[in-house]
């Protein structure tokens, strides 16, 4: 006898099945297991997902190598002499692999099993709202969490598929540095890899169709990063459309259109960093879950999909593709699926950080978003060169910019500074709790720290 479609089964294999073991899945799985629920996780790739295996962790590890290399080049300015410095790509790989290992991904399976969570390997496919198929077996549950992450977008560029292009995963595993590299996409991933490769002397061409790099940030941020890259010798091509790629022996001729003119450049490698698209190929139609191939699964602020017992979290929802957002959403989903009182996701203060040198960070609304919503706002900016820390560090490139409403309540902020990724959290707190700039202004900040620039910027708003 088959079960009638859409009828909730009385007997199921699990209380919760989580598809994906990344940040979007892992948190909810452990929360449910801690409540004594019977939980299974399904993973077809590496346990731990994108961030620790191929994303944040390995990229930040190699960027740390680049940072160390750049620091050594400048030490003579600070009264230290060193001998000749050399780059050992094999050793950088070992360091990167060690950093990945330190996250505990190696024992990912055991970590789940220690918590009493069943780990199932394979591709999950929904057969109906209460059952999915993995390999030759079927599993049913009362609740599901879809956290399948995302994959690289491949733009329709003539000759791209034939040119043996690399993505960020392959870029992490390169055994030799290319002499010339063309990176398609000037977002966070494209910019970080531009910084990495150019630090080690690779001639990088970075192309993006937007007017500025880091197009989701305020224009000043992109303009400054462009200027820094160009100073480092990077060829930045904004408002550029890559037309075609032709193989020429082991090299590739990339043709692109910039401001109405067609240019060509010959490179050793082409890297694709044109954005990410949600992984939604898991039979969601059979489960009654509405989704869009580009925008991901439609979710409420409770993280429930159009099938209320199926939740989604992380990149697959297509909102903010960050690890911290995925784990936040997973926490909300993990709470809501077993609680009558639902929590709602609040995206007012999502921090963003891009690990170029100096770092770039942002939180809350950008000017473009405020203009689009028709909100009245005021802005203030302060260059980091005005603070004491800049003087003693010999780093004067960067700024802090705060956006606030007419009453001085902080709505968003952008920072370009050596520790921007750390500094942004003071402003994230302000955005989250609707604080006025005067609260930051009246708070004492230690001298000499980079965060003093935040206080001075807040002062500019509170004194108006």
């Amino acid at each position: 006898m088959y079960r009638k479609k859409n009828n909730k089964p009385k007997i199921v294999d699990f209380d919760l099945i989580v598809v994906g073991t990344g940040a979007g899945g892992g948190v909810a799985a452990h929360m449910a297991a801690a409540r004594g629920k019977k939980v299974a996780v399904i993973e077809q790739e590496s346990i731990g997902g994108e961030c620790p295996n191929y994303g944040c962790v390995p990229t930040k590890a190699i960027l740390q190598s680049a940072k160390m290399y750049n620091t050594v080049q400048k030490v003579s300015d600070f009264g230290i002499k060193v001998g000749k410095t050399e780059v050992d790509l094999g050793a950088i790989h070992s360091w990167k692999n060690q950093a990945v290992k330190n996250t505990g991904t190696d024992e990912g399976r055991q970590a789940y099993e220690r918590s009493g969570i069943t780990v199932i390997r394979g591709h999950a496919h929904f057969l109906d709202p209460w059952m999915l198929s993995v390999g030759k077996r079927r599993y049913s549950a009362h609740n599901f969490l879809v956290a399948t992450g995302s994959h690289d977008v491949v733009p329709p560029i003539h000759g791209l598929k034939e040119c043996d292009y690399i993505g960020y995963r392959q870029a992490l595993e390169l055994t030799t540095m290319p002499k010339k590299l063309f990176i398609i996409g000037g977002g966070a991933i494209g910019s970080e890899f531009t910084h990495y490769f150019s630090s080690f002397g690779v001639e990088v061409h970075l192309a993006d169709f937007m007017p500025h790099l880091l197009g989701n940030e305020d224009p000043e941020v992109g303009e400054l990063v462009e200027a820094i890259f160009e100073q480092e010798g990077v060829n930045v091509h904004t408002e550029t459309r890559v037309i075609k790629i032709v193989n020429k022996g082991k090299q590739h001729v990339v043709s692109f259109e910039k401001l109405g003119k067609v240019h060509s450049v010959t490179v050793d490698k082409v890297m694709l960093a044109a954005g990410k698209s949600p992984n939604v190929d898991l039979g969601l139609e059979n489960a009654g879950v509405h989704y869009d191939k580009k925008r991901g699964i439609h979710v409420e602020r409770t993280m429930q999909t159009t099938a209320p017992h199926i939740y989604a979290a992380g990149d697959v929802t297509g909102r903010y593709m960050f690890t911290h957002v995925a784990s936040y959403e997973s926490r909300i989903a993990g709470h809501n699926m077993f609680s009558p009182l639902k929590h709602m996701a609040d995206y007012r203060a999502v921090p963003r950080a891009i690990y170029v040198e100096p770092e770039v960070a942002g939180v809350g609304a950008t000017e473009a978003e405020l203009k689009k919503k028709g909100k009245k706002y005021q802005s203030a900016a302060v260059p980091i060169s005005v603070i004491g820390r800049s003087n003693v560090s010999q780093q004067d490139t960067g700024f802090v910019k705060i956006l606030a409403n007419k009453k001085g309540v902080i709505l968003g902020a952008s920072i370009v500074a050596p520790r921007a990724g750390e500094m942004i959290h003071e402003l994230a707190l302000a955005v989250q709790w609707r604080m006025k700039a005067s609260k930051i202004d009246y708070t004492m900040h230690a001298y000499p720290t980079w965060s003093q620039a935040v206080r001075i910027c807040a002062n500019k708003i509170s004194c108006r």
Binding site: Y2, Q44, H125, L127, D281, G283, E285, N286
Partner: protein, 93 residues
């Protein structure tokens, strides 16, 4: 390792082995019903079957709805009218 047999979960809930010949025949007749020449219809059916086989890749079980929706999506790129007929033939006929 040999290929594992794929299974289709039908609308009424029962399962049967995936038979690409049935898909080929359905796509071919949808193409013919919109006056696509036989040779071209064969080529299109071949391409759609190969696209679906690739999509099936690591999946052991899919529903007949999945096959129909995906095949229609691929067929739409080659012949939108045939895709419409393929998707709605139960209603049309």
């Amino acid at each position: 390792m040999g290929k594992t047999m794929k299974h289709i979960v039908k609308r009424r809930g029962h399962t049967e082995a995936y038979d690409e010949r049935k898909l080929y025949a359905a796509v071919f007749s949808a193409c013919q019903s919109v006056r696509e020449p036989s040779g071209s219809a064969e080529l299109i059916a071949d391409k759609v079957v190969s696209d679906i086989n690739e999509w099936m890749g690591n999946k052991h079980e899919v529903t007949s709805n999945d096959i129909r929706a995906n095949a229609a999506l691929h067929l739409k790129a080659y012949n939108p009218d045939a895709a419409y007929i393929y998707l709605h033939h139960r209603v049309v006929w």
